[in-house]
Symmetry: C2
Subunit: 709 residues, 2 copies
C-alpha cells in the first residue's frame, strides 16, 4: 500500500500552524489518499455552479456537506444533504446548506460545500483509532449504526495492526455473521476491510499526533470498502513515552533482585512486632542461604547478625535492599543504596501516592532513575522466591516450591494468594507485591519470569497497567512459551471507580483490556478464585494436541452439566466416530449412552471406569478427557481416584500424555479423592462441574494462543 508520509506531514503541519486540532473533511480525505484508504470522489465548491459541475463529473446521486473549520457536527448544523439527485437539486441544496450553517453559527468561517460521490448499498461499518493513556494507539472496528452505539459491539487492537490482527477484528464482534452476508445480502470483502484497518493503524502509528480518527460510516461491499466520512483530531502535545530500560538491563537487574546472593534489610529490628523484625525472621527462618545484612544505625547486631549503620558500610556486594523504615526516611536511604550500586530496592513502606503523597513518590522515582536502582513498590508486602528459600516480606512465610509465579498489585490479594496456595498445597516459584508500581511493573516481571527456569506459568492480579503497550509486547512473546493468566480488577465502572479511589490508577476501558490481552495471548481470569484455580491447575495439565474433548461420566446428570460447561468455556466436544463409539460400547452396559458424553451409568465397577479411560487415553483422535465420577458402593471415591492415577501412569510410561480433569459427585469422601487426584497431577473438584472444565478451557485458550493447536 502506498504511504506518502510527506503528504501527511505537510497537511498536519498546516493544521498545526493554523492552531487547529481538527482536520477539515478535504484534509482528512487527502490524508486517507496518502495511505491508500479509499474515500469517495469529492470536491469543494465555493459556488452553486461549481457544485453542479463537480456533481455532474462524479455522477448522481451526491452528498452535499458544509465545509467549515468551525463546524464539527455538520448534521446538527443542518449542513448535510444526502441523495441529491439532479443538477437542479444540487443548486438548491448548496443554498440551503449555506443558509443553515450561517443560522447555526453566525461567526463560523464557511469555506464552501463539499460535493461527494454518494455511496449506497453495502454494509455500514466503523473504523477508527484512539489514543489510550496506557496502551497508546489502538485501532477500532465495529458495525455502523445502532450496533456500535447501543450494543457497544466494537473491538480494538494495538496499532499498528497486522493483516492477521485486522482479519481477527472482523470476527471479533458479536455481529460478525453479518459481514458474511445474511438475509440474502452479499458478503463483504474481508480483504478490503482488513487493508483499510491496517492503513488506519499504520497512519496513527506513523503520526503519533493523530489522537483520534473516525471513518464513519465505511461502506463495505463485495468489491471494496470506502470511507464515506473522515474525522481526524490531532493532539500537538502528546504525553511523553514512559522510560523503559532495555530487556538486557531488566533481566540483569531482575535476576539479582529476585535471586540475590546478598540482601540488606534497611530498618532491621530485633523488636517483635516491627516490620523490620518480621522481615529478618522470614529471611533467617525461611532458610535463605545468602548473606543477610541488617541495617540499623543504633544496633551492633540483630538476631545474631552484624548490623551496619548504612548499606555503604557493608563490605561485599549487595543485590537487593529491603526497606522497612517509615516513608519519610526512604529517599535518603535510597540514595545510599544507589551509591552502593545495589540494583534493586524492595519498598515495603506505605505513605506515598496511595495516601496522596505524589511528590514523595516522584522523588524516589527520580533517585531510582539517577542511580539505576529498580524499585519494587512502594506500599507492598515484599516478595517470595521459594527456590532461594527467600521470604523478603513482613507477612507470613511461604516455602512450598513449585513452578507457578504470582503477583498482585494489592496486599490483600497477595495475602489471599498465600492463603490459597498454602491451603491447596500449591507449589510456587515466586509471589511478588507490586503496589504503587512506581517503577517495576508487570512487564518487568514477565521479562524475568520468561527466562526463570523455575517458573512455568505466571498469574497476575492488577488494577491497571502503567504501560499496557510494553506489557502487551512482552506478553505476546512470553505467552507463547509460558501461560500468562491475568485478573484485571476494575473491569466495571464501579470497580474502576474503586480502583482509582485507592491507588490513583486510571482504569482503562475494559473492552480495550479484553481485546489487547487476548491479542497478546494472555488468559484472562474472570475472578480471584478463578485466577487461583487456573494458576494451580494449568501447570499440571499436559498440553492438548488438538481440539477433541471427550467426557466420560458415571453420572448422566454430571455429563449434561459438564457439556454445558464445555460450551461456556469454548471447548469442542468431539463428534464420536462410529468405530470409537463401538469400542466404548463394548465396555458399558447396553442402556448406557455412548456418543459424547460417554455415559457408563452409575452402577458400574472400577473396571468400567478403567477400560473407558484407558481407551480415551489410547485413541489418538481424542485430545483431552473430562471425567464425571458418581460415588457408589461399587466404586468408592478412593478406588476411583487410584484407578485413574494408575491408568494415567500406565499411559505415561507408554509416552501418552493428555490433559485430564475430574468432577466428583458424592458424599464427603470425594473431597479426599479429589485431593489425591490433584496431588497426582489431575485437577479434580468435588461438588463442581464448572471449575474442572474452566481450568481445562484456560489451558486450551493458552495452547491456541501459543499456536500449539
Amino acid at each position: 500500500m502506498a504511504q506518502d508520509k510527506a503528504a501527511v506531514r505537510k497537511i498536519l503541519d498546516k493544521v498545526k500552524a493554523e492552531g487547529r486540532a481538527s482536520l477539515t473533511a478535504p484534509e482528512g480525505k487527502l490524508v486517507c489518499d496518502a495511505y491508500g484508504i479509499p474515500v469517495p470522489k469529492e470536491g469543494v465548491a465555493a459556488t452553486a455552479a461549481e457544485a453542479v459541475s463537480l456533481a455532474a463529473g462524479m455522477g448522481f446521486p451526491v452528498v452535499l456537506k458544509i465545509v467549515s473549520p468551525d463546524i464539527l457536527h455538520k448534521t446538527e448544523a443542518g449542513g448535510v444533504l444526502v441523495g441529491v439527485k439532479s443538477a437542479q437539486d444540487v443548486e438548491q441544496g448548496f443554498a440551503t446548506i449555506m443558509a443553515n450553517a450561517r443560522k447555526y453559527s453566525a461567526s463560523a468561517k464557511l469555506q464552501g460545500v463539499q460535493v461527494q460521490q454518494m455511496l449506497a448499498g453495502g454494509q455500514e461499518v466503523i473504523v477508527g483509532a484512539v489514543t489510550d493513556p496506557s496502551f497508546g494507539k489502538l485501532v477500532a472496528f465495529g458495525l455502523g449504526g445502532v450496533l456500535v452505539e447501543v450494543l457497544k459491539d466494537i473491538t480494538f487492537r494495538l496499532a499498528p495492526a497486522s493483516r492477521e490482527d485486522a482479519l481477527s477484528m472482523l470476527d471479533g464482534i458479536a455481529a460478525a455473521e453479518i459481514l458474511k452476508g445474511v438475509r440474502g445480502a452479499e458478503p463483504v470483502s474481508r480483504e478490503a476491510l482488513a487493508n483499510l484497518i491496517v492503513g488506519v493503524s499504520q497512519l496513527v502509528s506513523d503520526f503519533p499526533e493523530i489522537a483520534e480518527m473516525d471513518l464513519n460510516p465505511v461502506f463495505a461491499t463485495r468489491d471494496g470498502a470506502i470511507a464515506a466520512d473522515v474525522r481526524i483530531v490531532a493532539d500537538w502535545n502528546p504525553a511523553p513515552a514512559r522510560h523503559r530500560p532495555s530487556e538486557a538491563e531488566i533481566v540483569g537487574a531482575m535476576n539479582r533482585i529476585m535471586k540475590p546472593d546478598a540482601v540488606a534489610v534497611i530498618g532491621a529490628s530485633a523488636e517483635d512486632g516491627k516490620i523490620g523484625n518480621s522481615v529478618m525472621k522470614n529471611l533467617i527462618n525461611g532458610g535463605y542461604q545468602g548473606k543477610i545484612y541488617p541495617i540499623n544505625p543504633s544496633a551492633a547486631e540483630i538476631m545474631g547478625l552484624k548490623a551496619y549503620k548504612s548499606v555503604k558500610d557493608i563490605p561485599g556486594e549487595v543485590d537487593v535492599a529491603v526497606f522497612a523504615i517509615p516513608a519519610k526516611f526512604v529517599a535518603q536511604a535510597l540514595v545510599e543504596v544507589g551509591e552502593k550500586k545495589i540494583p534493586g530496592a524492595v519498598l515495603i513502606p506505605s505513605g506515598f501516592a496511595e495516601t496522596g503523597n505524589v511528590e514523595g513518590q516522584q522523588e524516589i522515582q527520580e533517585i531510582g532513575r539517577k542511580y539505576n536502582v529498580r524499585l519494587m513498590g512502594p506500599n507492598i508486602y515484599g516478595f517470595y522466591y521459594t527456590w532461594k528459600n527467600l521470604c523478603a516480606t513482613f507477612c507470613t512465610s511461604y516455602d512450598v516450591k513449585g513452578h507457578t509465579a504470582l503477583s498482585s498489585q494489592s496486599g490483600g490479594i497477595g495475602m489471599a494468594i498465600i492463603g490459597f496456595s498454602r491451603s491447596a498445597k500449591m507449589g510456587v516459584s515466586a509471589i511478588v507485591g507490586l503496589g504503587n508500581k512506581s517503577d517495576l511493573d508487570e512487564d518487568d516481571l514477565l521479562v524475568f519470569f520468561e527466562q526463570d527456569e523455575n517458573t512455568h506459568i505466571i498469574a497476575m492480579h492488577c488494577e491497571d497497567l502503567k504501560d499496557g503497550r510494553a506489557f502487551a509486547e512482552v506478553a505476546k512473546r512470553v505467552s507463547k512459551k509460558k501461560p500468562v493468566v491475568m485478573l484485571k480488577a476494575g473491569r466495571t465502572s464501579a470497580g474502576a471507580k474503586a480502583a482509582s479511589s485507592h491507588t490513583g490508577a486510571l482504569a482503562g476501558n475494559d473492552k480495550i483490556y479484553d481485546d489487547v490481552l487476548r491479542q497478546s495471548g494472555v488468559i484472562r481470569a474472570p475472578g480471584l478464585r478463578d485466577m487461583l484455580d487456573y494458576a494451580r491447575a494449568i501447570p499440571l495439565l499436559a498440553t492438548p494436541k488438538g481440539e477433541n474433548v471427550v467426557i466420560i461420566t458415571g453420572a448422566g446428570g454430571s455429563g449434561v452439566l459438564l457439556s454445558d460447561a464445555c460450551v461456556d468455556n469454548g471447548l469442542k466436544l468431539m463428534a464420536m466416530p462410529a468405530d470409537l463409539d463401538a469400542a466404548f460400547r463394548k465396555f458399558i452396559p447396553p442402556f448406557g449412552a455412548a456418543g459424547n458424553p460417554v455415559d457408563i451409568t452409575g452402577g458400574e465397577p472400577p473396571k468400567t471406569y478403567q477400560n473407558t479411560i484407558r481407551l480415551g487415553l489410547e485413541d489418538p483422535r481424542i485430545h483431552a478427557l473430562i471425567l464425571g465420577y458418581w460415588h457408589t458402593i461399587i466404586t468408592p471415591p478412593m478406588v476411583f481416584a487410584k484407578l485413574v492415577v494408575e491408568v494415567v501412569e500406565e499411559m505415561k510410561a507408554k509416552g501418552i500424555q493428555k490433559p485430564i480433569v475430574a468432577s466428583l459427585a458424592g458424599d464427603v469422601q470425594v473431597e479426599e479423592a479429589a485431593e489425591y487426584l490433584y496431588q497426582h497431577g489431575i485437577p479434580a473438584y468435588a461438588y463442581s462441574t464448572e471449575i474442572p472444565v474452566a481450568v481445562l478451557g484456560a489451558k486450551y485458550q493458552w495452547a491456541r494462543g501459543a499456536g500449539l493447536i
Copy 2:
C-alpha cells in the same frame, strides 16, 4: 380491546375444512382485526385494474404480494414488490408478480395479488407466538432485521401475557435502548407495542390450535404499532394437556408421602449390600419414629421388625411405600400399593424409560393414575425429610436439620448435594430425587414445600420440566413467599444433547427457560456449585429493605474486585451521602478512602472494623453490607470474625437486621474465621471476592421478584 372470537373461529374453521395449516395473508389480517391488532389497509385484487383501484384508495406507495395458499415464502417466489409508487407501476407489478409465481410453481393456486398500504419509517420489531412442548403458548418480542436473526436478541413470556409482562419484554432485549430513541430517532409508543403483544398472546391462548404466529415486521412509531406482515400456522391436533391433580389433592398426598407416620419397604432385606437392606438401615438408624413395615415374601422378620408378604397384609394405614425391587416386579407390587390405598410410591428401581423401557414406565404410570398413587421416580435415590428423621433412600444418610429443601433429577447430582451439605454443615429440610419424573414433578414439590413449615428455601436441579407451564404458575406464587433457586442443566445445545441421550428429555430453548423462570420469580443458578452456595447462604441472609449496598473493606484491592462483582450481580453501590461519608471518615485514617467502598486501609485495629460496621448497620439508608477483610497481625482473622458477630448480635438486639456477607483475604487462618462467621449466620468466603457478592445478588434477585423491595 375488542376480541371477536366468533370471527376468528369462523376463519379457522374454514382453513381447517380446506385441509390447510397456514392462513393466507388476508385471513391473517382478518384474525388480527378481530383482536384489535393493527394491520395496514389492504385488499386482494384478482386483476391489474382492481389492484390499481385499491392502491389509489389507500394512497401510494403500496406493496404488492402474491396470494396463494401454496406459496409460503413469497419473497423467494419473486412474489413481493415494495415501494410501488404509481398506478402505472401497480399495473406492471401485478403482471410481474403473477408471472414470477407461475414460474416458481406451475401447480400453485394463484388467488391474486394483495395490495397493501406501505409502511415506512419507525422501528421494525417482531412480535410472534410459539407453542413449546413444556411451556405451551409463549409470546415473543424482538427487534427486526439482523438483531433477531444474528444476535438472537429476543425475549419470551408465557401467554396470555399481562400488560406488565408485555412492558417488561420491551426492556427485556439487549437493544432495548433503541426503542427509547437513539441517534435522534423518536421513541416508539410503548403502550401501542404492549397492546399488540397482549393481543397476540390473548389470541393464541384463546385458540390453542394456533401453533405459530409471526408479525414481522411490525412498524413501531411514536403514535402506534402496525403489523406489516402476518403469518399464522395452525396445528389441528395439538398434544393433550398433561394430567394435573388439584392442589388440594397434591398437598394431601405429598404431606403423607414426605412426612409419613408409616412406611412400607417393598423388597426389604436383611442382606448387606442389597438396596432393600440399605433402605431399612437408613430408616432405622436414622431415627425415624413412625412405623416401618418390611415387605418380603420369604422372611418373617427383618432387622427386628415383623415382615409382611404384601403391603395388603399390613394391619394399619401406610403413607408411603419405598420400592427396592427389580423393575420387572414393580408393576405388580404397585397394584397392591394401590389396593392398600397408599398415596405414594417411591420408585428407586432403574430400568424404565432411561434404559429404553418406555412401555414399562407407561404401565406403572397408568397403574398410579388408576389407583391414585403418586409416583416418585423411577430411577432415583429416594428422599430425605430430616424433621421426621427420615432417610427413605439407599444412599448415605443425612440428618442435619435445617430449612433448605433440595431436589435433583439426577442421582449423581443428588449425591453431590449430600456431600456438599455435609461438608458445609448445611441444614436441610428435605432432599428429593425425581429421576424419570413419571409422575411427581418439580411443581408437585413446590406445592408441598410452599406449605411445609420446615422449608424456607427451595433449590432444584433439573434437566427438563415435564410441565413447564404448571411449574411457572406455581413458582410465581411460591417464590413470593420462599426463594426458589433452579439449576437448569442442558442450557447449551451440547448440554441439551447430553440430556436427551440420558433421560430422553426434550430440552427446550434455553432462552425460553431463562425468560419464563425470571417471569416466575425463580433465581437461576449458573452452575452446580452456585446452586449449592445459594441454597446455603440465602436462608441466612436477612431480606434487604432497599437497594443501597455498601462495601466496607480493609483491603483496597478487595474493594475493587467486590465492586466488579456488584456490577456483575446486579447490585447497586450506594452513592454515599455527604453526612454519611463524613461519619465514616471519622473512623478511618485520613488517607483511607470513604465513598463506597469504604476503604478503612489495611493496618487498622479491630475497633475500626467495629465502628464502621456498626455505622453501616445503624444508618437506615444502607440496606446491605459487603465486608472485605485483610489478614493482619493487628486484626487477626478470628478477632475480625468475632467482632463482626458481636456487632451483628448487638444490632439484632436493637431490632436491626440487614444482609451481610464477607470476603476474607489472608493466610489459611481465614478459613476458620469464614467458618465461624458462617456458623453465626454470616455467609463468608476465603480467597473469593465473587461468591459472597453472588449469594447477596441472589438474595436481592429474590427480594425484587417477590416485590419486597
